[in-house]
Symmetry: C2
Amino acid sequence: MLHNTNEKIQLAIVDDHPVVIEGLQRLLNSRDYLDVAGTFTSGNAFLQHLKGNKIDIVLLDISLPDINGMELCKEIKKRSPGTSVLVLSNHSERSIIMQMLQNGASGYLLKNASADELLNCINEALNGQISFSNEIKQIIARPSAHELKEVPQLTRREKEILHLISDGLTTPQIAEKLSLSQLTIETHRRNLLQKFDVNNVAALIKVAVQQGLV
Amino acid sequence: MLHNTNEKIQLAIVDDHPVVIEGLQRLLNSRDYLDVAGTFTSGNAFLQHLKGNKIDIVLLDISLPDINGMELCKEIKKRSPGTSVLVLSNHSERSIIMQMLQNGASGYLLKNASADELLNCINEALNGQISFSNEIKQIIARPSAHELKEVPQLTRREKEILHLISDGLTTPQIAEKLSLSQLTIETHRRNLLQKFDVNNVAALIKVAVQQGLV
DNA sequence: GGAAAAATACCGGGAAACAGGTAAAGCAAA
DNA sequence: TTTGCTTTACCTGTTTCCCGGTATTTTTCC
């Protein structure tokens, strides 16, 4: 995990604002254990670079001109699982932070984080750690009322049918699989829609996935 | 955040195994800044306790006899946002960890974590921090290939319609809202199903939510 | 300016889903 | 034993969705 002391950490920067890149370079070049191996203003350029070069950690903005930073993060982890992704962004929405984490980011800071905080997070991420700035930690630790909304209590059978619906099975298919009448499945569907107070399956599955039920 | 030195941290333990509770109590009672204010073998019992008592941090198992630990976590944060929830579980699946985080947990350790690690996480969580054991950090930092699956590239209109579908609007409703023909919406729906390689809206919305598209 | 992608719209048909209602059997808990 | 919940199943009717295909216009990009 931690590198030999005679071998510099290969770090890359991906941001669509050259001035941000320049500022980061100035800050990081003064650390003799870090080598700013490359800077990129587009996601595709960085992905190309990853093909022939090993990068230990990348400082990644989310808003990029070509690829969505969330997808880029995923692509980076797919192509080079050993590369740590540290998000450096102005987006402070909890849902974005959680999604970046879900997509494989090792850390997240806002662009207003201090230099010390950035370096600390870089070091922690290089040690295989999940690292956030304190500000991000407090955002994560404070879900909104919407995020804490209670889900209905489902019976065993309802859960089973909800899973099957979310897997894309139709009512006839579920009936066959469970050896039940299609009319039985229809009744269960109706009961699920009523419990979640939605009108159709799209809204049902959206809530169910968001709440971790499927 | 950090308490006065003359005031003990009120800590609670919720686990359905009395032997686990006892072991934790032995460990924690030796720390003079902690007060094990209560131990509970059921979620409801703890929620009752929360009504009249302030708890700074709770060590929470996920598998409980009455309430699902994920729902319990949500309920705790809803009723007492200032209470930190530190999950102590045998479940090491990344999806469970992420969902507990999403539901408001401030930290997560496996039950095989060392005493030092547990105490360290308790202290960090009390400082408003998100804290994990090193083992959990490595699980989070390593998403599976399934979790990194690429989502199709959607056009601007497709994204818009996908959002509306996930909000539960029907084809006629979307057509009216966007001032387009129902047949146009039908074509967009068909294209979305094809792009995601699914057969119906349930599977479509499931993937879209999981991938953070809606 | 041209090519390609995106967006719009159409057609017919059948299946699935939704909506409103009802009812009985089985199971679990008090 | 009783009560209440869960599960199963039925009925009719309407609406929506999915499936197979096609075509033209608009917009975007090279």
